[in-house]
Amino acid sequence: MKESRRAFLKELGGGTLALGFGLPLLDAGPWNSASGAVLPEVALPADPAVSAATQWGLVVDVEKCLQDEVRRAVMDACHREHNVPRIPDPEERVDWIWSEPLEHVFPDEVHAHTPPGVRGAPVLVLCNHCTNPPCVRVCPTAATWKREQDGIVMMDMHRCIGCRYCMAACPYGARSFNWREPRDWVQTDANGKPVSDYPTRSRGVVEKCTFCAERLRVGLPPACVEAANNVPGGEGALTFGDLTDQDSNVSRTLRERITFARRVSLGTGPNVYYILPQSIPTAAAVETV
């Protein structure tokens, strides 16, 4: 666990700091804040040297995520970190990272003879931080945008007018709307305060995964990646890094393994990749979170 974190920091240092990722930020006010309460909507200062290349990416090893504990740890960590409201009504749920049956995730890869166990195999899904994101294209107020510096599809919950055009445009169902007051459904500690100091949202705005922009800023890997590595058997279930850095873990994995991305034919250029298992043990397939 310590190992992987150190490796990640090294990657962050070797790959992105060298490109200047950290340099312009360290003295820029909001980025320095250790409180973590800074909104992730503030754009990084433009730096052509940086924006030329960097793109964060994630590889999901589906086999390692077949274990319930791994997926649960990942989802809980993310949702706790970002004060994501836990709304029971499936029609009004807010999800940043969640589990879907494989046939929903890869609708074009299942066929008449795909066994039910494979169709139902649980796969973690999240925002793909597309290279060519349709949600960004359609947003009338630029409340969501592709951050040039690192390719994260960002979200400004203070500018969002709640028109939900982005939800109609996203082919991955990765965007959630706050149909009701989210603050009523945020996990709280003993004092009734939200468990994380990440800003809570208001009703009527869209939200989604931001690859933990607030953690990346202070040199931490995304919460989901860290959480997976902390579960026995989940080490390496999620690999995160800079896709433009050939030496990053994520680039190496993409070179060495056969990986897939969701609905590539739509031209969105997803930056979340999947390593599919050779086979699905029947037990894992049946229970999905």
Binding site: V138, T141, R164, M167, S176, G267
Partner: protein, 386 residues
């Protein structure tokens, strides 16, 4: 001229009172939605647009259809429309107001509506729709006001209004084209992603709008003592007939492409509508009602002897308007979300709050239309009595 709206018959005031009551009901329902969030609607994670955006889409068509009287009158000097054209323009004004209100009531953060202008993103069709609708409202309001004022003074309208009228013609086409592009540019929604959507929108608009205009003209003649004349009504009927025939053809073309190619992503929404999908069929009765109504009314409209009879024409116009309302104001938007891109079927039905807000918004349109038509009728009444 404006003062005319404060003097009217008992019937006029009763009508305004009716609209006011409906508006108040709508406001009460909207208050609830404002307090509790869009959770009070039937919309969901999977079906994230519903009745409001569907009404917006339908009414953009009604607004655009003013061009069907403006174009023949001003471009082809078709004199029979002389008395109809202002009714079309003022119908467009009320329809655009209704459209804008439907977008507004659909917003999760209505207080931030000005962000569309403060932080515009030109790649968003919604931004362009905002501009197109706003512009169309102003253009029609100005044209209508200036021409009726000129009529009142019994002078020719000022010369500068003519270019504005010509501008309103492509502008009308643009509002509905841009609205269609809102949908047809989304790779995630194969049901909407069809090049025929914009042409189909225009065809259905040019059937639905003039149908409504015929009905309004008949009402105005009966209760307002103002007759647009039989030639105008029959010309409108011909327009409805052609537009509706083209619309039915476009729908069939679309269905052929999806169903014959048998590509699952394209077939599924049609299966959902026509037969139900995996046991879900909430929209199937509506779809069939709309389709049957459309085919029967179109066929009857094609028979001159039928549409020449005013009573039959009125009935057929009601039928066509309803059929197109089901098609665009109900089915088209919702079916785009079913199944979801992940293949999940979540059905949608509007809640009482949603229906009340919708009725309230339409009542605002009715109120505005009543006042605008009152001005027209008062001016014409005086001219006739002079």
């Amino acid at each position: 001229m404006i003062d005319r709206i404060f003097h009217g018959s008992r019937r006029y005031w009763a009508l305004l009172a009716l609209w006011t009551v409906l508006i108040l009901c709508g406001l009460a329902a909207y208050g609830r939605q404002f307090a509790l969030g869009l959770s009070v609607t039937g919309m969901s994670r999977d079906v994230s647009w519903g009745l409001y955006i569907a009404q917006f889409t339908f009414m953009v068509g009604v607004a655009a259809s003013a061009v069907m009287v403006v174009l023949p009158y001003y471009l082809h000097d078709y004199k029979a429309f002389a008395r109809t054209v202002i009714l079309g323009e003022f119908l467009a004004v009320s329809a655009v107001i209704v459209c804008m209100l439907f977008v507004f009531v659909d917003m999760g953060q209505p207080r931030r509506v000005m962000n569309v202008l403060l932080h515009p993103r030109p790649s968003s069709l919604m931004f362009w729709d905002f501009l197109a609708l706003g512009g169309y409202l102003v253009i029609n309001l100005v044209i209508g006001a200036v021409t009726i004022e000129a009529e009142r003074k019994d002078v020719k309208p000022p010369g500068w209004v003519r270019p504005l009228i010509f501008l309103s013609i492509p502008w009308a086409v643009s509002i509905h084209t841009v609205t269609a592009f809102l949908y047809s540019g989304l790779g995630a929604r194969p049901f909407w992603m069809t090049a025929i959507l914009a042409p189909r929108f225009l065809a259905s608009a040019f059937a639905a709008g003039p149908s409504l205009l015929i009905l309004l003209a008949l009402l105005v003649r009966r209760y307002g003592g103002f007759d647009v004349g039989r030639p105008a009504l029959q010309a409108l009927a011909t327009i409805v007939t052609y537009a509706m025939t083209i619309n039915v053809f476009f729908v069939l073309v679309e269905m052929f492409t999806a169903l014959y190619s048998a590509v699952p992503h394209d077939v599924h929404p049609f299966s959902y509508l026509l037969t139900g999908l995996e046991g879900h069929s909430a929209l199937t009765p509506w779809t069939w009602a709309g389709n049957i109504l459309a085919v029967v009314c179109t066929t009857l409209m094609l028979i001159p002897a039928v549409r020449h009879r005013e009573r039959a024409l009125a009935l057929l116009c009601v039928g066509i308007f309803l059929a197109l309302w089901i098609d665009k104001g109900l089915v088209l938007v919702v079916a785009g979300f079913i199944p979801s891109p992940l293949g999940v079927i979540t059905e949608y039905a509007p809640t009482a709050v949603e229906i009340a807000v919708t009725a309230g918004v339409y009542a605002v349109g009715g109120f505005v239309l009543t006042i605008l038509y009152k001005v027209v009728l008062s001016v014409r009444e005086r001219l006739q009595s002079v």
